[in-house]
């Protein structure tokens, strides 16, 4: 006989003749005692693999569904798979609980957790249909943005002007510090790295040209767009998807507001105004960063650095950079809003929308940037 004390529930396990075992339980079988009792009884039984088990409940003073769980788990434990199993001396209460929840009700095996599984063909089909639905939604969204834009041009007073100004502040003004810092450091890095090569030829002064051209026509728009995509593209997606899942967008539609006109157009217009401005800031701070390196490390004077920058930059570069940033602005705002409107389901949808907005924005920004590069080589 083995006996374990796990107060206030104890048990005695009697190994009988020919592997016929008896388990006597005493005390309370509830949430506090069941796990421990289950562990140790299972361990004891597993070692000996009895042919039959008699469970004697005469000493049990209280038994709830956790107690029943103990009985069920014993009944279905692998060690007792083919064994005979009997319960005796259950009190009226315990018998009632066992009748309701006992081993006969515990069907095995448990259904596999997780969603329905499909074969590869069905999954491919499912994914294709999903992609087509997404594409259709995308085209419809672009169309309704276009129509709303036309209606705003026709009737400018339909634009929600206050909202637009608010978005300009959060997307533009609030982004100035981070854009300025990143650009300043980027200008410093570029100046420093290029100087390592250029000083070998005594061409220090061309550091200024390099920083200016690279920032104004290429890196300024890209860096600004990526920072804004991370800050505001994700924010648009999160805001709009939250409204979507809490039925606010449905409410707007029912009140005969055009959700696109109400939510999307102000954001697109705000982005189109402030992102080019941020790009100008970005180039400016990068040139300042380059100048800082030029003056402190490369023996250039402020005026010569400045003069060289002015001489190198053509107006075309500036416009090129700005027109790129305008395109990026449209991408960021519309992708952010699109991902928001597409959101479906619970709170996780908000996170997914924000993540997917940033990823899609950055991908499209790089894609369009390379298109611009191709265009320029044929200009």
């Amino acid at each position: 006989m083995r006996r374990k004390d796990s107060s206030p529930c104890t048990y005695q396990l009697y190994p009988g003749m020919d592997g016929r075992w008896t388990l006597r339980l005493f005390g309370r079988l509830d949430i506090d005692t069941t796990p421990e009792t289950l562990h140790s009884v299972t361990a004891d039984i597993l070692k000996s693999k009895p042919v039959s088990l008699q469970v004697d409940l005469s000493g049990v003073t209280y038994m709830d569904d956790y107690g029943t769980l103990l009985i069920n788990e014993l009944r279905h434990s692998p060690a007792l798979r083919d064994a005979r199993f009997e319960i005796e001396n259950a009190s009226a209460d315990a018998a009632e609980t066992l009748k309701r929840l006992g081993p006969e009700h515990a069907t095995r095996p448990l259904p596999a957790p997780g969603r329905k599984s499909m074969n590869i063909v069905a999954e491919l089909g499912d994914a294709t249909i999903g992609a087509m639905i997404g594409l259709k939604f995308f085209v419809a969204f672009i169309g309704s943005v276009f129509l709303s834009t036309l209606s705003v041009i026709k009737k400018p007073n339909t634009l929600r002007f206050d909202d637009t100004i608010g978005h300009m502040k959060t997307t533009g003004v609030d982004a100035v510090p981070v854009v300025a810092l990143i650009s300043f450091l980027l200008g410093m890095i570029m100046a420093f790295m290029s100087s390592l090569q250029l000083t070998q030829f005594g061409a220090n002064i061309y550091v200024a040209s390099l920083v200016a051209v690279a920032m104004v026509s290429e890196l300024g728009p890209i860096m600004t767009a990526i920072v804004v995509a991370g800050r505001s593209g994700s924010a648009y997606a999160a805001e709009i998807s939250t409204m979507k899942i809490s039925e606010e967008i449905d409410a707007l539609s029912v009140m005969r507001f055009d959700p696109v006109l109400f939510l999307v157009i102000p954001r697109i217009i705000a982005a189109m105004v402030v992102i080019p401005l941020l790009t100008i800031f970005s180039s400016f701070f990068a040139i300042a960063g380059g100048m800082f390196i030029g003056v402190t490390m490369l023996d250039l004077t402020t005026s010569s650095y400045f003069q060289q920058t002015i001489n190198t930059l053509k107006l075309f570069e500036v416009f090129w950079g700005l027109s790129k940033s305008l395109v990026f602005a449209v991408i960021i705002a519309s992708v952010g809003c699109l991902r928001g409107v597409q959101a479906k389901g619970g709170p996780a949808a908000v996170g997914n929308a924000a993540t997917s907005a940033v990823v899609t924005c950055i991908f499209l920004i790089i894609l369009f940037d390379s298109l611009f590069a191709v265009m320029r080589s044929y200009w």
């Binding site: 509830d30 949430i31 796990p35 289950l38 709830d64 029943t68 769980l69 515990a106 448990l110 996780a348």
Partner: protein
Amino acid sequence: MIENTPVDVGHLTVRYGDELILDDLSFSVKKGEIFVILGGSGSGKSTLLRHMLGLERPESGRIIIGDTDIAECSEKEYAAALKKIGVLFQSSALLGSMTIAENVALPIIEHTALPARAVAEMVRMKLALVGLGDYEHYLPSEISGGMKKRAGLARALALNPEILFLDEPSAGLDPITAEEIDDLIIDINRRTDTTMIIVTHELASIFAVARRVIMLDKTSKKIIAEGTPRDLKDSSPNPLVRRFFRRYDRTEQKTESNTT
């Protein structure tokens, strides 16, 4: 703890800034009782509930849950007191990213040492108890409001709490589903002897489930009535209370005349 009063609130006063929300409330709940806290919008029902759950601390007074005064206990004692309670929130508060079964399993996995198979079995028992046996693998967003309440109830009952708090359990449900939830509450109370504290303003469900009611008042911020639902309806000296219950009478008469 006084053996048969698992919940005891004494001289509870709550203020937000200068605004008085609850003024000197005292009541206690007997073991196994279904106790209803009643009141109109803005009467402080939700505030009282938040304090009884220890989510906020009052300005003064005691809130004894089990044998702990959660109005002024340490974090550790509070955690121990939380073991005794289960809560069904008004919105059900199921985690949207998890299936119904995972939601119910969450507290069982966290707070017991049961093996995974036994946890799954327990989850099934709890879901069967609330009549949601076939919905284990559904997400909360895929089931109806009434089912969410049931799932929330299964999760609240997962650890066999001594005291169950229910915030507006039948609000926002159609009369039949609301009645089903009420029956479920009565059934669970009868089977498990769980003390239940229900915050609601649904008169029909008060008459169905409540053994004892207290009513909070919006203007005085005090308890203006205490007793069985019948007592309050028939013989309360307070006109506000009678007015509150008269509305139920009207709807009852209407349905009666409709059916006859």
